[in-house]
Amino acid sequence: MNSVLASNTIRFFALLLVQVTICSNINFLGYINPFIYIIFILLFPVKSNRPLFLLCAFNMGLIVDMFLDSGGVHAGASVCLAFVRPIFLKYAFGTLYDHQILKFNKLQLNELVVYISFMTLFHHFVVFNLEIFNISQILLILKKTLISSLFTVVLSTLLILLFKARK
């Protein structure tokens, strides 16, 4: 149990640091940045109690907001993502999740990619909606969501696989 706590704490701070120092300064094609900090929410233990999970996600988003001066955009999106995660888990893993025997380091690659893609698309859609905050610019929101999500999905899949192999 303690190792779960330790690994999640380390993941929290490591992802935060990588996000604000590297990933938010990539500016690929002028405006595309991946938000890899959501890996923390993706890989949070399934069997933990949900209020704690929501609070952790909120704090993660809040600290990212503080670094990026973005108001409450990332805090809001992270809380949303944490709240709807069971739906995506159920969709992506089906019976594994129903029987409560889901372990993130023993998964098929295709299931993992489906899970990461849906979670990322949802999160980025909320982020850009809150950031632009103007429904008449829905095309811009969708464009940003799609391109940034692609970047995040590739990067976070690689990161998850990289650190899984080491264990």
């Binding site: 500016n27 940045n33 949900r50 809040l62 503080m66 990026l68 108001g71 409450g72 809001g76 905050f133």
Partner: protein, 273 residues
């Protein structure tokens, strides 16, 4: 009563979600609608410390470019000095009593962003360097933004690349003024609105600060006219301005402190009464 407690306990996750999302949403709305971003900002020792460490490594990568910018600025200043028609006669005998209207404080950019609708910079000067809200920030080429939040050692700057920013600017040739905003499309272009139709505008004309507010002195460069068109009402021009500054590669900036600001403010407060 029992039922209410049961309801709260049964739906505690959902209620917590609503609470947290409500907090986040209100902070987002607050950051969109008011000029100040009060609650969460990067002018604090945690973010400043992290960005400072990153910057101490990152600054070496564009040393050459920054040197060229400094040499260019030195060249301009030397030219001004050598071509100045004023001679030593105008220097007052006792400089103790000739007050400077503006003081300049150099600073380094720790964080820069230019791809969200409201962009902020974090710089390494704060309250202990006597920086306050509403001081102007410029580079040798042109304006950058206005100080927003300050902590002891760091400040955030509301960039001109921001929907919230409105800066008084004018055409250098005809002195017709308007307000400078940003349409969030490109970090190289800003928009000058509400310029009277009486102004003669040509593509390539210089836009400078207007000096009608206490933030920027008159005549600091902003950019050149890229294109202009008559706006919907038909009596004003909307001008696309190509900025002098490359807002994507800022490193060294100057903060302008208006030494008369206390007096101006108290005067304005008096006339409001």
């Amino acid at each position: 009563m029992q039922q209410i407690f049961n309801f709260v306990i049964r739906n505690k996750t959902f209620l917590l979600f609503l609470l947290l999302f409500g907090i986040a949403l209100s902070m987002t709305i607050q950051s969109h609608s008011y000029h100040r971003s009060k609650f969460i900002n990067s002018a604090n020792s945690l973010t400043g410390g992290v960005y400072g460490t990153v910057n101490s490594v990152g600054q070496y990568f564009d040393l050459k470019e920054q040197n060229l910018i400094l040499v260019e600025e030195n060249k301009q200043l030397k030219e001004q000095l050598l071509n100045s028609t004023k001679t030593t006669e105008t220097v007052s005998i006792d400089s103790t009593f000739t007050e400077k209207r503006f003081s300049i404080i150099p600073a380094e950019v720790y964080k820069n962003s230019y791809n969200s609708p409201n962009n902020y910079l974090t710089i390494n000067r704060g309250k202990r360097d006597s920086i306050q809200q509403d001081f102007g920030v410029i580079t040798s080429k042109g304006i950058v933004g206005i100080i927003d939040n300050t902590s002891n050692k760091f400040s955030t700057v509301l960039s001109i690349l921001s929907k919230k920013s409105r800066i008084n600017a004018k055409l250098k040739s005809s002195n017709q003024s308007g307000s400078l905003t940003w349409d969030t499309k490109s970090p190289y272009l800003a928009r000058l609105e509400d310029v009277s139709q009486f102004a003669k505008v040509n593509v390539g004309d210089t836009i400078v600060t207007g000096g009608q507010s206490a933030i920027f002195p008159k005549g600091i460069g902003i950019g050149t006219v890229e294109e202009f068109k008559t706006d919907a009402t038909g009596d004003t021009y909307t001008i696309q301005v190509r900025l002098f500054n490359d807002m994507t590669t800022l490193q060294h900036v100057y903060i302008i402190k208006n030494n008369d600001i206390e007096e101006l403010k108290s005067l304005e407060a008096q006339s409001d009464e």
